[in-house]
Amino acid sequence: MSLILTEEQEMLQDAANGFLTENAPVAAFREVRDSKNPDGFCRDLWKEMADMGWAGIIVDEEFGGSEFGYVGAGVLAEQMGRNLTASPFFSTSVLGATAVQRYGTAKQKEQHLGSICDGSTLFALAVDEGPRHHPEHIEFAATPHGNGYKLSGAKTFVADGHVADKLIIAARTSGEANDPSGITLFLVDADAEEIDRTHTPMIDSRNAANIKVDGLEVTGDDILGEVDKGYEALEGILSAGRAVLGAEMSGSSQQAFAITTDYLKEREQFGQKIGSFQGLQHRAAHLATEIEMTKSAVLKSLQLLDDDFESASATCSMAKAKSGMTAQLSTQEAIQMHGGIGVTDEYDVGLYFKRVHVAQQMFGDAGFHADRLAKRSGY
């Protein structure tokens, strides 16, 4: 297979680019932020995205999706990264849809995929329990109770957790805190009485929540995947998330860089365009190279998710690592090369810098994934 987009995927890219620059540019994101919109995104916009088939981008046609696969999801995420578009796309259409479509029972698919596709049900994935990504570290308890379980515990940084209708919670059904086995995924209603959700405003002005659950009773029907083997499913969901976050960060890197090169061609100091200073040129050229490397890494991971989902984990890790490093560099350089104006709130590059930082932290930063790769390769 060629490492380029197909014609169909390119059309999707053009459409997404057109729609988002028109309807959800950075200015729209600012508006959501400044109006302190309690949802953290615009519901009308989300409805429009769903109508275009974006909410069900990876969902099979038989369930009402547009079946564009992960490359399709990445194509959209990249454009969202360029425009800093805030929406439930990632939590619902990537994490939620992956979880249900790949690991759900026929009944669960029937029940949830349709409402993912039409945008009416929002999902969130509750994994981490501390400030750093650590998916094996699950203390959140699922203790046997009657025919089912009772859930109790706390989760941090649940993206879109405060607006979600459904929560996917990684809980421990057996074993010790850092044991990958003994984890089970539960799919529960987010507005249950036993669930307490606290909106945690983040530096990137996106939504997350801390979640506390106190004795929520669930049955076998609420289990997603297999008991004690939830880590494998979690791995799959996280892999998809990592690749798509990679695509988003790749988009943000490209856009922050484009804004910067424009500025370099326009701003004059010492009687010349600052873009003519070799001290800046070489850094820009280095960054341009890293951005090319990142695009390849991201596309490969998305293609592999579509081709051979089970084998994509390491590749998605590498793509997340590479895109995270590049995005960090791109947004840091964007600020620096703008001089004073780069650190103002009014100017967009700072918004990219903040978003990228949170996206790096989400599901593991470059260091996390490098270590994971090392471990996997036996060193």
Binding site: L3, I4, H282, A284, A285, E292, K300, M318, D371, Y379
Partner: protein, 403 residues
Amino acid sequence: MSDLEQFRAETRAWLAENCPEEMRDGDITAENQCWGGRQWEFQSDAQKRWFEAALAKGYTVPTWPKEYGGAGLSADEAKILTEERDRINARKPLSNFGISMLGPALLAFGTHEQKLMHLGAIARGEIRWCQGYSEPGAGSDLASLKTKCEDKGDHWLINGQKIWTSNADISDWIFCLVRTDADAPKHKGITFILIDMASEGISVKPIILISGHSPFCETFFDDVKVPKAYGDDNLSVVGEVNRGWDVAKNLLVHERGMLGTMSPLRGATGPENLGGYAAGEIGVDATGRLDDPSLRQKIAQAEIDDWAYNLTVERLNDEANAGNGLGAKSSMLKYAASELTKKGSQLRMDIGGTDAATIGPDGIEYGSLANTWLYNRAYSILGGTTEVQLNIISKRVLELPSA
């Protein structure tokens, strides 16, 4: 089965039958590759058999037209051949400057007669070429070169000096940039000329590198006569007189393309699996992992960079085949590959500690880790330095303003 699937199946079968086991040991290095040329002696029977099998099929230069010794493969077919070769870790049967640099330039700029005269000999590994671009006063600023070339009617007369000429002492012919018009603006008075190294008046003097070895030379031209015609045609000059810069630039793109496809981290001599090598040298901790967390991070980051680099070569080639030429982006590949190559051998030296810094009684052993590490410093210098590549990216890809 589609034609391409059919081709893949045939290629796989052909490789299985014709590529000797010994030639399936990973990518080639300068030490083990088959260079060809008049002075060439095969290093092993397997190397010879592999070369001969490939030659018979046109696979020493698979994409060149059949009439010039190639197999006339399309870009898609060539990609499949490369993939299938990589799948079994096969070396290239023949690689040298004729294949990677001069050939593509001749295909683009040469006359039919020039192609007939030189391309077949390259494909058959008969002639080994070297590159006479750099001069003592003309490195990065190549166009300021001074080697003088005068029109003497039936021949050209050449006087001057080249430097850093890789393998000049063991090459048969040289493709050279010379000044044919000293009064024209510097890019407009350069001619691209082909010279037999056996010509009277050429002398070479090897230069020893920090690695203790001498892969390149000074090349002196002292009243060297280059016949204009072998028969009726002017076969010596490629492209037009005084328009050699166009040819030179085209060739540099191919050179960068080649330098940019070396699978940098692995391609260098030395242990392939950096992590495993490190664990062996340094030991493991209680959990069985390499007992040096900072080195783990460095190795893994380099592995990730290497992986993304190789994918980028693939992606940019796919884009080029789909019609968006590679163009100045080849500078990105050259830049990234040379920096990664240096990083890879630096890591190997760091892992090896004082063991790797120990040399033999006769100096630095050829092919040793230290030898490679030292030689690899040159990758960001030859073929246009890192800084020059960054300049090209700034100007051509990013279109940043000039001072």
